[in-house]
């Protein structure tokens, strides 16, 4: 095969060989958990591709129109152009439903993989110096991805999206002092808003947010390449050097394989598993709502927060300063993301040594208090997530709804503390069970004698006892 000619062609025009040489030998450490971020990246590519197709058909307009498409149950019904165009692209454009459902599945998986990626980063301490800035970029992307997902499923103007939007409108109204002006400004008037609102939502969804996310992805990757990946410690894998598979040829092929796998699975989901059949929900009207409505999974924690909240408001005389939706819909996510943003600071203050650079990862058990804190934090978000679906439990098991809500209200307050205690104990037990990769084994093996006593078999019993003298500061004292 003639490889020299294309290489010469590129090099003589762009002088790219030194960069290419570096890129092709760029080292990726091998571990399955390092793939989670890649899945998010590839889901984003699918979102862009399918989204372009959808944008060719969708019309962001609240103009009144009458349905004359092929779906009989909606025949002759009045609706907005936004809803009509979405039903049209779903049911009357060949392949349209496949791409719309693939787009929706990709959004769900995009956000899920970002979340799992972030949890991996938190548990292993990959956010520590020198990678704090990249971590902050990642948290920002998670936040924007949730917003982007919400904007996306609001666009069809079906019953579910309308119910989601009116809740968002109420949360905006509830922001102290500036809320009403802000909401009317965004919605171009009182809900359901003027026609400018649909242009704004559409521009936000297909231009502004994707552009910002794409820019942040670029920044994220550039920072990783500058600092290199973290890695789990091991033979030849130290704080000063990393070991892994080079980009060319093995890693490029594997990663392309992962790309195709993500695309393939998303198309299979989009083709075979129905998601959000908007023609069944019908068009939104302010006077319509439905029972058992659930948002996409990544907003479940917010609907749960809104539902769990007791009717607490801040009043001044007979005026309401802070209406109730503020707590569950605005304060809760702000605090949650606030904790994520300052987590590197929390870690430096409570769980890690200060000011030290870390290229080697912790296993979750290596730092039981940090890991337990993360589990407790996640449970604090997960409890409302479950609470957001208790009406389904009510219908299935007929456990009274009010009793369930009271249970979750109390659980939200005490649950994370219980979870912290249990998780810390589990991580500490796990840590005792096997040798630390750097600190080695520090347990004792005992054997029960026939008379009921115990005898010590020695400190090692064949287990490795080596410690790495080079990095004693890595061992976090408990």
């Amino acid at each position: 095969m003639n490889v020299e000619d294309p290489v010469r062609f590129v090099d003589e025009r762009l002088g790219a060989t030194s960069g290419l040489r570096k890129l092709m030998r760029y080292v990726f450490p091998d571990h399955w958990s390092f793939m989670l971020g890649e899945i998010a990246l590839y889901a984003f590519i699918v979102l862009i591709g399918t989204g372009i197709f959808l944008a060719f058909y969708y019309s962001p307009s609240d103009a009144e129109t009458v349905y004359r498409g092929s779906y009989a149950p909606l025949q002759g019904l009045g609706m907005t152009e936004a809803y009509r165009s979405t039903v049209h692209l779903s049911l009357d454009v060949p392949g349209g439903l496949l791409l719309r459902q693939t787009h929706h599945w990709a959004a769900n998986i995009f956000i899920a993989s970002i979340l799992f990626h972030m949890v991996r980063i938190l548990f292993t301490g990959a956010f520590r110096k020198p990678r704090e800035l990249n971590y902050l970029v990642g948290v920002t992307m998670l936040m924007l991805a949730v917003l982007e997902g919400f904007a996306g499923y609001s666009l069809p103007d079906d019953l579910l999206s309308g119910m989601g939007l009116v809740i968002a409108y109420a949360v905006a109204l509830s922001i102290p002092f500036v809320g009403p002006s802000l909401a009317v400004l965004i919605w171009d008037g009182e809900y359901p808003g003027g026609s400018d609102f649909w242009d704004r939502l559409f521009t936000l969804h297909i231009l502004i947010l994707p552009l910002v996310i794409a820019t942040l992805i670029g920044l994220h990757l550039a920072m990783i390449m500058r600092q290199h990946h973290t890695q789990f410690p091991g033979k030849r894998r130290t704080e000063k050097q990393l070991e892994g598979t080079p980009m060319w040829p093995a890693y490029a092929l594997r990663s392309t394989g992962l790309l195709f796998l993500v695309v393939g699975v998303l198309f299979l989901l989009g083709g075979l598993i129905q998601i959000n059949p908007i023609w069944e929900w019908g068009p939104f009207e302010v006077y319509r709502s439905t029972n058992g409505a659930q948002p996409d999974w990544y907003l479940g924690w917010l609907i749960g927060g809104l539902r769990e909240m007791p009717p607490l408001e801040i009043h001044f005389g007979s005026y309401t300063v802070v209406p109730n939706p503020f707590w569950g819909g605005a304060a809760f996510p702000l605090v949650a993301f606030g904790i994520l943003y300052v987590f590197p600071l929390i870690d430096r203050r409570f769980f890690s040594r200060k000011g030290k650079s870390h290229n080697l990862l912790d296993r979750p058990r290596d730092n039981p208090r940090r890991s337990a804190f993360i589990v407790a934090f996640l449970s604090w978000v997960a409890i409302p997530f479950v609470a957001g679906a208790v009406d389904r439990v009510f219908f299935r098991l007929t456990i009274p709804y009010t009793a369930e809500v009271w249970f979750f209200r109390i659980l939200s307050l005490v649950g994370p503390f219980i979870v912290y205690a249990i998780a810390r104990r589990i991580f500490e037990d796990l840590r005792r069970r096997d040798p630390h990769p750097l600190r080695g084994w520090n347990g004792r093996i005992v054997r029960r004698t026939p008379t009921g006593g115990f005898e010590t078999l020695g400190a090692t019993d064949g287990r490795a006892t080596t410690t790495v003298a080079e990095h004693p500061e890595e061992t976090v004292a408990e």
């Binding site: 040489r21 570096k22 080292v27 399955w32 496949l98 459902q101 693939t102 119910m163 409108y169 109420a170 509830s174 922001i175 002092f177 500036v178 009403p180 002006s181 802000l182 009317v184 400004l185 290199h228 030849r236 000063k240 050097q241 040829p249 093995a250 490029a252 092929l253 594997r254 394989g257 195709f260 393939g264 198309f267 083709g271 075979l272 009207e285 302010v286 319509r288 709502s289 439905t290 029972n291 058992g292 809104l306 539902r307 007791p310 009717p311 408001e313 007979s318 005026y319 309401t320 300063v321 209406p323 109730n324 939706p325 650079s357 290229n359 296993r363 809500v405 990769p437 490795a464 080079e470």
Partner: protein, 342 residues
């Protein structure tokens, strides 16, 4: 409910996933060994093996062949029979087989290498001092630096605050928008098709949705939910009760919590043990007591459901007797609690 066997399998699956997650992280036993890297040279290869066999080549070829088949199938079905399931299956499988080909090639065909790379150590104290000095020298020859900086901060802050004032000036207009409803005295109550609703259309144990005649049905101030109770069960002051002809109460249909339409009417089938009639919002389950003028009895809502005063005309049609008592729609920051508008 799932049968216990299936539940057992699920538990087992969950447990094995948890165990795997906890175990997968390697706990190597050998001491870290630093291999010196030569500066400017490509990173050294410490392991290299050539895994290609006839078997792995055949597997890759087969996967690529199936990819071609899947993609071709997609094109055929697109033209001949564009069924969502078939299209998704073909395209999805094409990509999955392409993935198999790539992953097999990446793991079993091309050379498997382990390469070392040095981590960069960032942070050069000398350079940091240099840059800090460069920044500082930008202020050479200026004597009152702190004062000037403070003044600049004050100027910037003032401009920033000033820039937000146009937002605040929207204030009164915003409130007007939020207070407005299309209801006024004398307006008939109609259904979604525009047909006037009479007192006989509203029956106990059921609810009807009403709209102001000749006005938009698309605004939050427009829809009302009509219910009927025996007059002696209604516990509101007499002047309010006078606006509930024959016990027909017209509530705003929009929840005061987050603005969803209230579409559930919890009516006791056995009133001795079951809770009192209540309107429930399906979004966050705010529950409003129908007998006590829409008071909140459960859920997150912070205000009672506003009531539209009603009367009957000679044709027994329902007619509005004024605008709502209280503000319609989700609470906004600054909304008046009870009793009339701001």
């Amino acid at each position: 409910m799932s049968d216990p066997k299936r539940g057992g399998f699920r538990d087992w699956l969950l447990a094995s996933v948890v165990v795997r997650l906890l175990r997968r992280v390697p706990a190597p036993k050998e001491e870290g060994r630093h291999v010196p890297l030569r500066p400017g040279e490509p990173p050294p290869t410490v392991e290299r093996e050539l895994p290609a066999t006839a078997g792995s080549e055949r597997l890759t070829l087969a996967a690529l062949g199936l990819t071609v088949l899947g993609a071709a199938g997609f094109m055929v079905f697109y033209v001949a029979f564009p069924d969502t399931q078939l299209l998704g299956l073909c395209l999805g499988l094409a990509f999955v087989f392409a993935a198999v080909a790539c992953i097999v090639a990446g793991k079993k065909l091309v050379p498997q290498e382990k390469v070392l790379e040095e981590y960069h150590e960032f942070g050069d104290p000398e350079r940091q001092l240099e840059v800090a000095e460069m920044v500082r020298r930008g202020g050479d020859g200026i004597s009152r630096r702190k004062m000037l900086l403070g003044a600049a901060g004050a100027a910037g802050g003032t401009v920033g605050v000033a820039a937000t004032f146009p937002l605040a000036s929207l204030g009164p207009r915003v409130d007007d928008i939020l207070h407005e409803t299309p209801w006024k005295s004398g307006r008939r109550v109609v259904d979604a098709e525009g047909k006037p609703l009479t007192a006989d259309d509203v029956k106990e144990e059921e609810f009807r949705t009403g709209f102001p005649e000749g006005a938009s049905q698309h605004e939050l101030g427009s829809p009302i939910i009509l219910v009927r109770l025996p007059l002696d069960e209604i516990e509101v002051p007499p002047d309010r009760k006078a606006k509930m002809p024959e016990g027909i109460i017209g509530f705003s249909k929009i929840c005061t919590h987050a603005g969803c339409a209230i579409s559930m009417y919890r009516y006791p089938t056995f009133s001795d043990t079951q809770p009192a009639p209540a309107l429930v919002c399906p979004c966050h389950y705010s529950t409003f007591d129908v007998r006590r003028g829409g008071e909140v009895i459960f859920g997150p809502a912070g205000r009672s459901l506003p009531i539209l005063p009603l009367r009957l005309n000679d044709a027994r049609e329902l007619v509005a007797d004024g605008d709502f008592f209280g503000n319609v729609g989700p609470s906004w920051s600054g909304v008046r609690q009870e009793g009339g508008k701001t």
